[in-house]
Subunit: 243 residues, 2 copies
């Protein structure tokens, strides 16, 4: 069985860890853009996008895994002159999605950066991995839904990530895809299983968010063992990301 | 027993890997600046230095390990306008050394960037971790020695890294410290042990160079098991880096 981890930060994992993921069937993963401190410069994000597209893909190959790059300005990583990074996103090739983008505290600046990225994604027809925060998840998700609707963002390009049951229910009703993140502080395997049982398996994808800090890089495999659902663990992600 | 890994790239290792190093006695490590693709922008290096100083130290703490930052422009990571990064090196605080700096192919640009960093290190009294390449190691090391002598670089600030027996012998004769890198393609544990037996233990430090690609993060522990030498595995590094 092939599994798909829809959201990792491969940079923070050794080739050995990635090879272990591959050994457990995780043959596809999207490596999302994130910088672990707030970068001062948009240039740092541009080189980060290049690194994800060029270098992380190669590390994936060494580990026996397809690593696909997602590029974007995370709400916690907004540098000054962030429009330079946006301009690069418009020009570069070799990525599979914009991500992670979204809102953390829903500040005015975050909303502006998020909106401009969504508009670009709509223009270029690019799937988006949309982060929801740990704090005030439901209120911030509401804000995200409002923005998506206001700019008439195409449903099929929208993946609401790190969802809990309440956010998943609303997102599904709007026709969005939903990411279930099995990670300490987010969902347990049991909670993810329960959400799929309650809401159906058509629009869910699964991920570990593994990367720089503590997290289980085999989370998606562990979810597979309990759920045994090929849609959630592979097919929905392939369809959403058009692989 | 406490061990000291004088050259890692902690960014490419999970907190779990770092905690395993700590469990094996590796309580001190210098995390060196390197960007795995050639960055387009000096700004990327500035944010990288900030990341090493601010974030990697915190990840070390979580893992029970002292991670000390080394900042510098690696010869394979020279961006345009690299002098901006050099200027930041002059102003920032919180690092322990310049590194890795040095030469890869000894191009004119590499030599210029290396020299300017050495001059700054001499002015600021900063220890330097000096990379020697896999290819043409001895010829490039000769070039490095020439540059060091031409600018009258203080011997006590100079660590010639990734040495083989021939490079070690010459470096020791000039009064430099020498880094033994136990890593596939560099030295085996046995080769490192033999070099120390042949040349004495006063000026050697040991490292794994573990990071983004395949390498053994327990290399320094494995060397300790064979060598049982506190100078090479701890004290010389503490003296050189002034800890």
């Amino acid at each position: 069985m092939e599994l798909f981890d829809s959201h990792i930060h491969s940079e923070g994992r050794s080739v050995k860890d990635l090879a272990k993921m591959s050994d457990h069937g995780i043959k596809h993963a999207v490596s999302c853009a994130f910088y672990p401190i707030r970068p001062l410069f948009a240039e740092t994000l541009i080189d980060l996008f290049r690194k994800l597209i060029e270098y992380e893909r190669e590390r994936g190959k060494k580990a026996g895994m397809n690593i696909y790059a997602a590029i974007g300005i995370h709400p916690r990583c907004i540098p000054r002159e962030w429009d330079k990074a946006l301009k690069f996103m418009e020009e570069v090739e070799g990525y599979i999605a914009f991500g992670e983008i979204g809102l953390e505290e829903a500040s005015k600046e975050e909303v502006e950066v998020f909106k401009d990225q969504l508009k670009l994604a709509k223009k270029l027809d690019v799937p988006c991995i949309i982060h929801t925060p740990r704090r005030n998840k439901e209120a911030v998700a509401e804000k995200i839904f409002e923005i998506l609707e206001r700019i008439e963002f195409p449903e099929e390009l929208c993946l609401i990530d790190h969802a809990n049951a309440a956010v998943a229910e609303k997102a599904l009703r709007k026709g969005y895809h939903v990411g279930l993140t099995v990670q300490p502080g987010k969902l347990s395997v049991e909670e993810a299983v329960e959400i799929v049982y309650n809401f159906g398996d058509e629009y869910f994808v699964a991920n570990s968010d593994t990367g720089f800090s503590e997290s289980d890089y085999l989370a998606v495999y562990k979810l597979w063992k309990e759920l045994k659902n090929e849609k959630v663990l592979l097919k929905n992600a392939k369809r959403f990301f058009r692989i």
